[in-house]
Symmetry: C2
Subunit: 234 residues, 2 copies
DNA sequence: TCCTCCTATTTTGGATCCAATATTGAAAAT
DNA sequence: ATTTTCAATATTGGATCCAAAATAGGAGGA
């Protein structure tokens, strides 16, 4: 079996379940605050509760779900303050990653960033929200990985994961999509000139805008903890 | 049952196992690079493999162990570069925590810090290495928690956990213990005067010395991945 | 009507058993 | 002697079953 195929369908049930859960949370299929009923979900996904619980433990570690002994797992419900905290931490860590990346950036790295950006622009033009989110993420992670600090990148990735559910709506607006394209171009320009301060600044603008957008969407009240009624997990 | 009792013996086997595993890794009982044999460990701890595996998943999320499908879990083996990366990330996050803490520091917080420091000094004088590590950690976490950023503190705590195994040796040296006591006093002094820059600086010195010490201990070669021979887990 | 207590039900936690995969070691071929 | 193949073994992955805890609902009492 080729490595590609192996990645397509994970070799273990827990990895399959993990991917499904991420998708469910990201797309809002499982809503913030909702309890996760293991029996129902396991049946839905055609696995037993054992791999499901292991996947949930992973998500707990990433902060996507919370856990209470004998009460179970709940989809993490982030308040506005929580979101601001996550974005502030991202700012700290991503600045470090970008500075280190700029210091060692090779032409081949820039080529890969250009390719990632091309995909972002394609998705933006097509209005493909899911592809847009994926491509945007790939662009940023490609940059961060140039820093050669795998643990730092892992932390940043986890922070992105933890707010995926709240960020998915962002790309629905075509104005936001165009803005992202422009901001990426500004970042790329700074990177080509190895202007670290400028690259950090453009990314901060990029991030702050996302936060501001989130705030305006959410400030009519924090999401409520739900106890039932979410649709099944097709 | 009192809350205290409830905390003494965790209500679930996975939490018990998690604590035991942490201790085993921290004390070097499970050595970096060693594979974790689930059957043997489960029998050792008198539980089945199910809660053990959930505990391992938690540790995987924290970076204390690595996981490969169908091959199992291994105690994470940190290279010198890895350690430096962890400490650099800590520097970034802890600076933020300290600055936020100083901005809102109340007298009651200072009292708690004094109490924590008293415990550090007691342990230092007694030469109690384990108590020293615990007290030092409590001192720092008490400070960080004043920042009112629970996610940030959680990340920092995880980073501390991930290097526990390597830091345990540090307090064996009485010179190191005395140095820690002095550095804490300098930090406390800065905090009392709400001198954020100074507090950050003293903590950076504190941390950098630990890194330097680790480097001198480890630079005769990275630890090897072991495959067998670790003593049983009393 | 409201509160308390107790029981029935639901849900999670964990043990055991079996299946799937990886590893080891020996035998056979080059 | 070295490499390859294949079977035997060890180890992990997962399903099912049972136990323990929490939740929900109703009966009884104030």
């Amino acid at each position: 079996m080729s490595p590609d195929e192996a990645r397509r369908r994970p070799p273990t049930a827990q990895q399959f379940v993990l991917a499904e859960l991420r998708r469910a949370i990201t797309t809002g299929r499982l809503r913030p605050g909702a309890p996760i009923r293991q029996d129902a979900l396991a049946e839905e996904l055609q696995v037993s509760r054992v791999p499901l619980r292991e996947a949930l433990k992973t998500l707990q570690g990433e902060g996507l779900v919370t856990y209470e002994a004998h009460r179970g797992y709940f989809v993490e419900m982030l308040s506005l303050d929580d979101l601001r905290e996550v974005y502030r931490i991202r700012e700290l860590l991503e600045e470090e990653a970008v500075r280190r990346a700029v210091a060692v950036l090779a032409d081949a790295d820039l080529d890969r960033l250009e390719a990632a950006q091309a995909e972002v622009e394609r998705a933006s033009a097509a209005g493909d929200v899911l592809a847009m989110a994926t491509a945007n993420r790939a662009f940023h992670m490609t940059l961060f990985e140039c820093a050669g600090m795998p643990r730092l990148v892992r932390l940043i990735r986890t922070l992105w994961d933890s707010t995926d559910a709240y960020r998915s709506m962002y790309y629905g607006d075509s104005g936001n999509r165009e803005r992202v394209v422009k901001e990426h171009r500004a970042t790329l320009d700074a990177l080509r000139r190895r202007a670290a301060d400028e690259a950090v600044a453009t990314l901060n603008v990029h991030r702050d805008h996302a936060v501001a957008e989130l705030e305006s969407v959410l400030d009519d009240g924090a999401p409520r903890r739900e106890r039932a009624g979410e649709p099944p997990l097709g």
